[in-house]
Symmetry: C2
Subunit: 268 residues, 2 copies
């Protein structure tokens, strides 16, 4: 499950790592797992897994039924801790809603985690054909418009480090570029200030993304519009959607900077 | 942070509880916390919090910047483990999308956790006035149509136990019923087979919900349609939306049961 760590200092608490590994194992293997399945998936001894499950059960994160174990919706509290803490949803929601209304397409906000983009906010337009995305979904960054915007903003040494991190996404993109192809794509993005992905992540999906900046000008997230290639041409994305996207990215950046510099009394 | 436990057996792993408490503290207190703030919020000694943060940093869940700590989007993996494991999103999404299209309103799926409902899937229609809900959001069950459907399905002793659990929701509903008022409302729901909430959770919000059952007939979730009281009358909810909602709940239940009884070879 977990990437091998090169060094774990004496202060590292192994029990926490193991507990989180067991929670994540459910995401890979599915609902209602037995002790043996969880032991095999995590590489932990059965008595260890059993104690972890008893602990998670007592804390309300796991439920035992007829000898199998499943996660409870309380696990969502952990993911929500990230969303609540960052205030991203509150700040981004009105902007994503307005953009989505104005272009009639789904819009998302994402951040970088290693070489993946992770969706942190989204306003979806119900469609028959849509990319299956929910908050927390991750895709290899280089194959997405959101990811190209985020990668393009990194200093060279940081970019190299980030791209070396193995993807934790569950999908394999249509396009798997080498380092040179990525650098060529990112040079275009740096020059233009926005990024386009035309069916590089998945067939029939096109998207266009722009950076969101904080008060210091640092790129902290990316916002995009997502469309079906059968319905929406690259020209529509660039001539019709892009100006609206850039306006949204700029208004969202201003709100973000305002939130960051709010008086401390408002921080509660 | 954590509710006081009456008994913690000798097998309980305190480090896991503490690690999860620190993650959840960010959800309550916000981004960029200092060691002292986290120590005060969790009731843990500073050296303990420091070791937990070092561990979470090494695992990629926490990032240290200039002496303060913040969660990374990797924390969303934990919440996603629940969503992926339960297959709820995959099974529910097409049904919620069709219902949302057909009534032009946002639709949600929720489960019970203690006395709260927790949203586990949602298809939102972008609207200027909308209830701020995302996956993982929790509300006191008795004040919502989703919650009334779920509470109404519980045996009497289980209902009593569940209602005694303190809410972990961050909102206080407009309506705070006593045990008798809840029982009267649930009797109506049991008789009708669906539930209505008219501005009991929040002013201007109305919703109507129906149960989702598994192959054994047990209620496993609730699905609802949510509307703004200025735009949508109770009559529209009951005469226009209800038949569509009941059809959706029934089709979703059938898919759920089919998924539960799938051949084991498909379980991967």
């Amino acid at each position: 499950m977990r990437e091998t760590r090169e060094t774990s200092g004496p202060e590292f608490i192994e029990a926490i790592a193991r507990g989180l590994d067991v929670i994540r194992a459910f995401g890979t293997l599915g609902q209602s797992l037995s002790l043996s399945e969880l032991s095999a998936a995590t590489g932990l001894a059965r008595p260890t897994v059993r104690r972890i499950l008893l602990t998670l059960d007592e804390l309300g994160y796991v439920r035992a039924t007829d000898g199998t174990f499943s996660l409870t919706p309380r696990v969502l509290d952990l993911g929500m801790a990230y969303v609540s803490a960052s205030s991203i949803w509150e700040i981004a929601r009105p902007h994503l809603e307005e953009l989505s209304r104005s272009v009639g397409q789904s819009c998302s906000l994402a951040e970088l985690d290693g070489s993946d983009v992770v969706y942190v906010a989204r306003v979806a337009v119900p469609k028959l054909v849509a990319l299956s995305v929910t908050i927390g979904t991750r895709f290899p960054a280089a194959a997405t418009s959101l990811g190209k915007v985020l990668l393009a903003a990194l200093p060279a040494d940081e970019l190299e480090r980030v791209l070396a991190v193995p993807s934790r996404a569950s999908v394999t993109p249509s396009w798997n570029p080498d380092a040179q192809e990525i650098e060529a794509a990112l040079r275009e993005v740096r020059a233009a200030g926005w990024a386009l992905t035309d069916q590089q992540l998945a067939p029939a999906i096109r998207s266009i993304a722009a950076p969101v900046r904080d008060g210091s000008g640092r790129v902290v997230a990316a916002v995009n519009v997502n469309a079906h290639a059968m319905e929406t041409s690259v020209e529509t994305l660039v001539t019709d959607y892009l100006p609206k996207l850039l306006t949204t990215a700029s208004a969202l950046s201003a709100d973000w900077a305002r939130w960051q510099s709010r008086p401390l009394a408002e921080v509660s």
